[in-house]
Symmetry: C2
Subunit: 409 residues, 2 copies
Amino acid sequence: MAVNLAPPAPGSLSPIAGVELGFAEAGIRKAARRDLMLMRLAPGAVVSGVFTQNSFAAAPVQVCREHLAAGSEFRAVVVNAGNANCGTGEQGLQAARATCAAAAQLLGCSPQQVLPFSTGVILEHLPIDKVERALPTCAANLSADHWVEAASAIMTTDTVPKGASTRAQVGGRAVTVTGIAKGVGMLQPNMATMLAFLATDAPVARPVLDRLVREVADRSFNRVTVDGDTSTNDSFILVATGKAGGETIDSVDSAAYGELRDAALAVAVPLAQAIARDGEGATKFITVSVKGARNGSEALRTARSIANSPLVKTAFFASDPNLGRLLMAIGNAGIEGLDTSTVSLSLGDVQVIDRGGRAASYREEDGVRVMQPPEITITVDLGRGEAATVVWTCDFSYDYVKINAEYRT
Amino acid sequence: MAVNLAPPAPGSLSPIAGVELGFAEAGIRKAARRDLMLMRLAPGAVVSGVFTQNSFAAAPVQVCREHLAAGSEFRAVVVNAGNANCGTGEQGLQAARATCAAAAQLLGCSPQQVLPFSTGVILEHLPIDKVERALPTCAANLSADHWVEAASAIMTTDTVPKGASTRAQVGGRAVTVTGIAKGVGMLQPNMATMLAFLATDAPVARPVLDRLVREVADRSFNRVTVDGDTSTNDSFILVATGKAGGETIDSVDSAAYGELRDAALAVAVPLAQAIARDGEGATKFITVSVKGARNGSEALRTARSIANSPLVKTAFFASDPNLGRLLMAIGNAGIEGLDTSTVSLSLGDVQVIDRGGRAASYREEDGVRVMQPPEITITVDLGRGEAATVVWTCDFSYDYVKINAEYRT
């Protein structure tokens, strides 16, 4: 059950000139569900991406990195759900390359202009024959209006397809940004997220796009965690088709760069939050805001220590103000020389910890009250500096265990 | 439900000359259950301890550190369950000192010769009046034969009291080591464990005992994890009463030191394993053995990444050989420059990963078979060095969520 998260309404995801999407039921893991997505990009589209920091990067991640290092213009993106093509060795790399070759043949481009993505079970071989058989169906239904269908075709245990769109003035012209994402578990993205695909019609030079994709990832997908487990397949790409026309954005110091970054964040942040809202078994959406840190790393470590603590997460599931667990989690963040007497913490509008201890004003009934709503903000002030960050997560319920105990079976 | 863990049989915990134990129902959190323990030490007993690395060290931990830094000979240990006396500021420190003063008055020693310990809910004030009222009951039933009762008096959500004893020849004389421990959640000890108390009648000089307590902790309690959350109250002390007589062990290079260390480990390792066996909601006891690491830190990071992954733990709960999750967890250990092609992994006697990918010999039915028993060993070879370690943990079940969602209420 996702927390305050509706699927994108039909027509709510704006088309991006130069991007068409197709989908199919390839039967990769289960029959009769969408599990293959093809995105066709018009000539001239530039793509940048960031990928998982897990040492066991999946075969498609390795192939994406190769292709992105070798070229700048790409014609297609292929995504399969149901199988991660990870831990599959040379055979896995061949399957990822065969996916690119099949899409290239259908669309009339080189395999190096195709970027492959996979998500699903690890350590099992990708049934490449099923991918090859279903790709022509994807090619046959390519449409600029298929963003919602594409969002549904990349889901695994997601309960809601995730998409967002925005329009903005960038360098004096109207541009559109649309994105889709998937991911609900094995999820603490590190430099990327499970799978997220953003496209804009703005014209952007590749080095600038490389910087933009990292900046957007760091302020959106890299701030989400469900269970602290970083997937082997995390990938986030940003496509710039240039179809909005006008001068190419070729400097990160330009006003247009800042405008495009804000537009991209206006899509990426709600997508990132959607991932936590649809976290496996989630009943609550939790925002962890940390300020007063000496640097960003301290702030992020503290926020993640809270957001990943099974004890904190089960307390939120139970709406039980067992708030000492928050103190425990802050203390475990590994902050060198933390003077606990400068630490304060509020839950919603209720101060819980003051100068390192239970706030004199704290009343159990206030704790009970602020633990009830499905959306809760935890605010920590470490009281030792100016750095701040925000992390989004969800609670830890019976259904997390159920979903993950039954995922394959 | 603890995994293959019976309570210590009456009389199975050997008395230690110079140690007596008393207990009481103080009603600190719940009525009609043992929650207070007093250990009286004969004059001349030497004590060393190691404590939590959590920044929010509880008040009794702070007082123990003070007392251990100031002196070497101790006359009493006081432990309360039901309240952690953590996040309680100056009032908490006063409560811990008042506990020491009350015990000191009863036993005729100085408050600085008393070591206080607390375990239970964080961020609530310790009802010191209840402790003071119940301590005389503890003093009245002091007995060298009360180790099992003492083990039960320090439990929180533990389902089984935990104790172990051994006898050994140390420096040519017969010595005894007996220990008790508690802990089932908020449990990834860092330099110590929840609460563990070991005593021996061997005569040991304080500097040697300081070294011994660290060495034993590193090879026993620091190798256990239930949920990766390090408690604010972790404490492990080793008492040496000297009542076995003979020459004091005053060198870590002596044969007697090695013999005593082995005897202490013979008690500490099963106690540490007992904590994982009784991990909150545990249905399986899992041993994670990592070898082929470049150093101990790599080995430990890898073992803990596996042992703390919610996805790995739920797969073991389900007896589902979703073994890609093990690969994911190894990849997340943050091993610099890990060449995945040298990594192999076996589950029991079944090889699952060979040279970084699915082993050609692996069959799903073998995976299903080795996931069934209540005790499972995971063996990882990183293939890049000689360092090795072992970590003990448990699976992650509905009952973990249930216990932690209902703990306070």
